[in-house]
């Protein structure tokens, strides 16, 4: 499975940042990408036994690398 690490939160708008924090995500969190939707649609990630859908752009920002 695809494992990623959250590298940074820079560049996110405050509401998204705040929500991700509330879900317990922080720099260093281990994120498992469960599913990518086509056409750069949302990404399902699994963190701390919870599954969350986020936008592809957000995912890319968080992991700071090439997620493909």
């Amino acid at each position: 499975m695809n494992h990623f690490m959250i590298k940074q939160f820079n560049g996110l708008d405050t509401a998204t940042l705040q929500r991700l924090h509330s879900l317990g995500l922080q720099v260093g969190s281990d994120v498992q990408a469960v599913r990518f939707y086509p056409f750069h649609g949302p990404v399902i990630i699994q963190v701390d036994h919870q599954r969350i859908g986020i936008r592809y752009q957000v995912f890319k920002l968080l992991t700071g690398g090439d997620p493909s």
């Binding site: 708008d13 705040q18 929500r19 509330s22 649609g41 957000v58």
Partner: protein, 664 residues
């Protein structure tokens, strides 16, 4: 009276717990943001009142419904807070608990959905959790009624018996602690604010809580306001978050116990493999909706409606007629009751089976957890029109009733996206529009009933999405849309929850039948039995006919050739259900079969479809207009929704009829 406030993250089973604990039930759903207003209930045989607050991730609100909680805590002091947490996601649930514990109000934390946790192969030592957090910790599983008796015993106690909690004190970095202490001290000294509350307000203010900052500005809390720039420049917010998270991680590590057996049932993952499939997800979504319509219109709803209609227009109507003749009632009164009320109100009541089946399907989707998946698979499409998948949920709820749909839009984070969702909601075909569709499809499209109705629903969605795109361009909404959606564990829908949810959504329909539809029917009966010369026997001379005939030239280009449907449309603004009962009165029929035959005679398939499209999109009902006004806070938008609905519906119906006539 003891007041207990129920507070917790979304998807923690809070509302289920509330329903189990109290006499009255609230509406339950398995997707984020079902409780959009706070609900109050009472624990059986006790003086304990329970308040169910909307689910929030933190006390710093992003959406409108989340601010309900913070405002509640600022303005009220409950005797006890029951913090409901999802046991398998304790880490993030405790982020909220910490904020609540800092308030110093007595708190009980319950680890709900404890079964899911056990299945994942670990457990928490409750004593360790309790001593670290400084409050009692219980375990429950509301869906199986596990641990509820114990919990109820904790809640049913007199105010004086509740043990006070001292506020949780975390080890924030020195600078933060100092800032909190200084602000709290001077709030207590100079503003006579209770020390605990002052401490909490100071933390929340420093932590950039929008509602608390507004509260401080309104109350002119200078010690906080003067330091605002300093707090923000020092990034205290981040430091507070980090301290809280490391406290929680530390607590959980100490409290975790491994269980022997790890029979992890990956039911959710298995279902999700199919349901959220990147390519199959969307067809499955469409398929589920098609199935829902098949159930409501072809398989269960319509046959049941037929029986009900047979009963109302047959025995009930005949019996009432005979009874009234026997007691010697005036012919006018008899006409009002038999041709007006029984035909009109009854004509709406016969749709109860269809509407309830539809509501049951929506409730099953909500309770099972599918709704958030629907938000996910539709997000890419919604992104194209500048909204996000979450806006899809209010729109789907709008299929039931536009009013609840618009209320559900409160969970959308961006204000502009919320406004757009509100404005396009009336285009979603609500259940009240069903009776009239059913009549027309039965009259003119007997072989393709479900398909034609489904096409109207899809047309509604398409118009809504196109308008959303237009608004998005006009409003120049921000590029960034907040789309973070939680995918909860699937639950097998529980029969009583489905029934409660269905009843909760459907009871309004029955209530309306007794009030506004009743009134509308009487009104239309009066209009159709009186004319300029008083009581008329010929309906062609009635006010209703006059009104319809005046407007007829306007409606001619969309294929309407008789005045009856036009007068019926006017009454539809009261409530959409009234259209069909008005038709019943205006065409002078007392049963569905006769009305269907009349409609079949006065419309062609094309003009009928054009009229249905017009009905789908024209002026929203009074209740919806009122909700748009209250949710947007402006009468301007309410008026706008009336005008835009009229323009769009007329244009489309006109085009369909004119282009269709050329082709046929």
């Amino acid at each position: 009276m003891t007041t207990v406030a129920l507070l917790g993250n979304p998807n923690t089973g809070k509302t289920t717990l509330f329903n189990e604990l109290t006499d009255k039930y609230a509406y339950v759903g398995n997707w984020t943001g079902v409780t959009v207003e706070k609900k109050v209930g009472q624990i059986r045989h006790s003086h304990t009142e329970v308040i169910d607050l909307p689910g929030v991730y933190s006390l710093n609100p992003i959406t409108k419904d989340e601010s309900v909680v913070t405002n509640y805590l600022l303005g009220n002091s409950p005797d006890l807070i029951l913090n409901v947490t999802n046991a398998s996601q304790l880490k993030r649930n405790l982020l909220l608990s910490v904020e609540v514990l800092e308030l110093g109000v007595p708190v009980i934390i319950t680890l709900n959905m404890i079964d899911d946790l056990k299945r994942s192969g670990h457990y928490y030592n409750l004593d360790t959790l309790s001593s670290k957090l400084g409050c009692p910790v219980r375990t429950t599983n509301a869906r199986n009624k596990e641990g509820l008796t114990e919990l109820r015993a904790d809640l049913v106690c007199e105010q004086s018996e509740i043990k006070p909690n001292s506020p949780l004190k975390l080890n924030y970095p020195m600078m933060v602690n100092q800032a909190i202490r200084q602000a709290a001290d001077s709030l207590t000294k100079d503003y006579k604010i209770d020390a605990k509350f002052a401490h909490w307000i100071a933390i929340q203010y420093i932590n950039h809580n929008k509602v608390v900052r507004k509260y401080a500005t309104i109350h002119q809390l200078k010690p906080l306001l003067s330091q605002k720039a300093y707090y923000d420049a020092q990034k205290f917010e981040d430091q507070i978050f980090e301290t809280r998270l490391s406290f929680i991680e530390n607590t959980l590590t100490t409290a975790t116990e491994q269980l022997q057996s790890t029979k992890h049932v990956a039911l959710t993952s298995k279902i999700d493999k199919v349901v959220t499939h990147p390519i199959l997800g969307l067809p499955i979504f469409v398929g589920i909706f098609y199935l829902m319509f098949k159930l409501s219109f072809d398989w269960i709803g319509t046959p049941l409606s037929g029986y009900l209609d047979g009963f109302l227009s047959g025995p009930v109507s005949t019996w009432a007629n005979q009874f009234l003749t026997q007691v010697g009632a005036l012919p006018m009164l008899r006409s009002l009751i038999v041709n007006g009320l029984i035909a009109g109100v009854g004509g709406v009541l016969v749709f109860i089976p269809q509407i309830f089946v539809l509501f049951a399907c929506i409730t099953i989707l909500e309770d099972s957890g599918y709704m958030s998946r629907a938000a996910l698979v539709t997000d890419r499409i919604m992104e194209m029109i500048g909204l996000n998948g979450k806006a899809f949920i209010p729109l789907i709820i709008g299929f039931g009733c536009n009013v609840t749909g618009i209320m559900a839009a409160r969970t959308i984070e961006q204000p502009k996206e919320r406004l757009i969702t509100t404005l396009i909601s009336p285009f979603m075909s609500c259940s009240a529009r069903l009776p009239i569709y059913s009549l027309f499809v039965a009259a003119l499209f007997p072989r393709h009933q479900a398909l034609i109705v489904l096409s109207l629903y899809f047309l509604g969605i398409v118009v809504a999405l196109l308008m959303a795109k237009v608004y998005h361009i006009i409003f120049q909404a921000e590029e960034h849309s907040v789309f973070i959606v939680e995918l909860p564990q699937y639950h097998i829908p529980r029969l009583d929850i489905v029934w409660h949810g269905t009843w909760d959504k459907g009871k309004g329909f029955i209530k309306k039948a007794g009030t506004i539809i009743f009134a509308g029917t009487v009104l239309i009966w009066l209009l159709s039995n009186f004319g300029v010369s008083g009581y008329v026997t010929q309906i062609d001379q009635s006010f209703a006919a006059n009104l319809g005939q005046i407007l007829l030239p306007i409606f001619k280009p969309m294929g309407i050739s008789t005045w009856q449907p036009i007068s019926a449309l006017l009454t539809g603004v009261l409530a959409k259900e009234v259209i069909s009962s008005s038709m019943m009165v205006l065409f002078h029929t007392s049963n569905q079969g006769a009305l269907i035959a009349m409609i079949g005679g006065s419309f062609t398939t094309l003009s009928a479809y054009a009229l249905l499209v017009f009905i789908l999109l024209y002026i929203p009902c009074f209740a919806t207009i009122g909700t748009i006004k209250s949710e947007t806070g402006s009468a301007k938008w309410a008026a706008y929704s009336v005008v835009s609905g009229l323009v769009i519906s007329y244009t489309l119906a006109f085009l369909i009829f004119q282009i269709g006539s050329l082709l046929m």
